[in-house]
Amino acid sequence: MNEVNIAKDYYIQAYEQTQSKLPGFSLPWLKSKRDEAMQFFSEKGFPTRHDEDWKYTNVTPLMEQQFILPSKQAHRLSAERLKPYLLSEMNAHILVFVDGYFSPEFSQCNKLPSGVTLKNLSAELLENPKNIQSYLSSALNSKEHAFNALNTALMTEGAWIHIDKHVVVENPIQLLFISTQEDAIHHYRNCIVVEENTSVNLIEQYVGLQEAPYFNNSVTEIIAKPNAQIEHVKIQQEGATSFHVGTLQVHQYQHSSVNTHSFSFGGSLVRSDTNISLKDEYSECTLNGLYVASNHQHIDHHTRVEHIKPHGTSREYYKGILNDSAKAVFNGKVLVNPGAEKTQAEQSNKNLLLSRQAEINTKPQLEIFADDVKCAHGATVGQLDEKSLFYLRSRGIEKEAAKQLLVHAFASEIINRVKWIPLRERLELYLAY
């Protein structure tokens, strides 16, 4: 048997052995979702480079190792080590997860406005499963890819957020996922439902405090009801040898507005998907992204925006900075379905290569099946501008510092789209090439 089949069987067995311990095991509706997802996984298996969506990303390194599903809470994380990652200066409501488990001792969510539910998924499945039943997995098609199916089958923990109608949540909500354990695999699942006429800001952050390999396979679903306004910032700072596969799945309804920002700094093999469906008229979304990779990092971003009804707007701005032998993939698809007239879509991907060995595969795609639409897309790949470098150096600025200045300038266009200045300052600090 080859590695691919060994790995597949490993997860099928893991599911059989651990399913009785998974949260919500006694809920028939959840069990059938999990079974269905596992069935898809066992039929389909892991993607290969023959799959169009995985052409430039080889996931075999993920299969060469048997990652261990967490069975008990065992972390020894000090408050001191965690502290630098808490967005305390932004008065954030914070849920902390460590090595697959919810950490009430580190979480700070006692100042929530009324009408806001912010809980860990397993608690909600135990206490009020009815609240979550109609939403969990509603935005995600588990048949999308094997990792999403695996997440649905094996999800253990994550955030459940529900914002009541007409509630404005001023301070951001931070979901912080910390990894300290080597060889572990975690299936975090976040489910976020934002009712009509609301506004909420979310920061989903993955931090690796472990140099040895581990694997995070996460899914976040967001349902944006009419007139909902959502900011979502994902910050990926996994450990240098870790694996990260994450999917953000968004369903938007009439007049809703969703701005997503994806910052990818860490990990050795990273795949990040953002899929947005504009399911009703006059909904709009913005997808911002910045990936920064060096050494042998491989970072793959796939985005898909589906315009289903008329008068939708989508904008996408992704930038990449690649050094050493790093590789990145950008694949952005905008789909304008029949009937989605008056759609406006723009998409751009710009890349800065800082070494001869760095590589980018970029593919912006428009698929238009409606008339009367306004769509534009483009991609660029370039190096640091020699003239700018000479200009800075002629003012006494050392070559390395001048490069840093230009790299930060390139990144700032994306960073400055984040609306909170304290978060921008943090992102500037995380940006080391």
Partner: protein, 250 residues
């Protein structure tokens, strides 16, 4: 001691000979104008002094304050007090003018073994220099040269010169693209920076700049060589007779 001594300098760009044996000595307090027709090598000379790397020096020597200038990198030259005001200042989106100026000032100070200026000291200092070129403070918070008019770009060059306090300032076609009012403002800024311990090399195609920045010496460059040197009267003579006069005489 001379600030700058150039001895028989030969320079090529992409295998093409641009400078063919330039010799020039510049002392503290002096302003030298370098004039010449397009393609005579004026801008090449300015860029070679600032350390542009794509120019090959095939022979000759340059001494700056008695030391071999060619041993120094671009940034080391700036730290040692050489300043080039660019003919075409570069736009750098995403970097604010104030951060750029602060990074430059502190890099030069570091190179000279001086302590960095903190944000407040720097701002106090730069505000004072802004007046010299009649610039508002909001100038500091725009991206470096991005969307600047021709005049604003050149004033920004003079502002940089003012904050970096060079020993040798080279002004490359500072008058190009300026209307008469902007030319006056820029020239006033330059004149205010004339100093007994500072030398300047003013590279220009036209005499009109030299009505405002009056040089001590004028050199005419043709085909990569200095074909004539004189005082400010030489510039006036060129204005009436044209460059052809000297090339023929040669």
């Amino acid at each position: 001691m001379s600030i700058l001594v150039i001895e028989n300098l030969h320079v090529e760009v992409d295998g093409k000979k641009i400078l063919n044996g330039i010799s020039l000595t510049v002392n503290a307090g002096e302003v030298h104008a370098i004039m010449g027709p397009n393609g005579s090598g004026k801008s090449t000379l300015a860029n070679v002094l600032a350390g542009r790397e794509d120019y090959q020096i095939t022979s000759g020597k340059i001494f700056y304050q008695g030391n071999d200038l060619l041993d120094l990198s671009t940034e080391q030259r700036a730290q040692a007090g050489i300043f080039l005001a660019f003919q075409y200042p570069v736009e750098i989106p995403g970097v604010s003018n104030v951060n750029f100026l602060k990074a430059a000032v502190n890099a030069v100070r570091k190179g000279q073994g001086k302590p960095s200026l903190d944000a407040i000291d720097f701002l106090t200092f730069v505000r004072e220099q802004l007046k010299l070129v009649h610039m508002d403070e909001d100038f500091l918070y725009r991206a470096v040269n991005e969307g600047f008019s021709g005049g604003e770009k050149k004033r920004n060059e003079i502002l940089q010169m003012a904050v970096l306090e060079p020993k040798l300032a080279i002004l490359d076609e500072t008058d190009s693209g300026l209307d008469i009012d902007a030319l006056k403002t820029v020239s006033e800024g330059v004149n205010a920076l004339r100093h007994p311990e500072r030398a300047m090399i003013v590279v220009t195609h036209y005499q009109r700049l030299l009505d405002h920045i009056v040089p001590d010496f004028v050199h005419v460059l043709s085909d990569g060589k200095i074909v004539h040197s004189g005082d400010k009267k030489l510039a006036l003579e060129l204005e009436t007779k044209g460059y052809g006069w000297l090339e023929e005489a040669n």
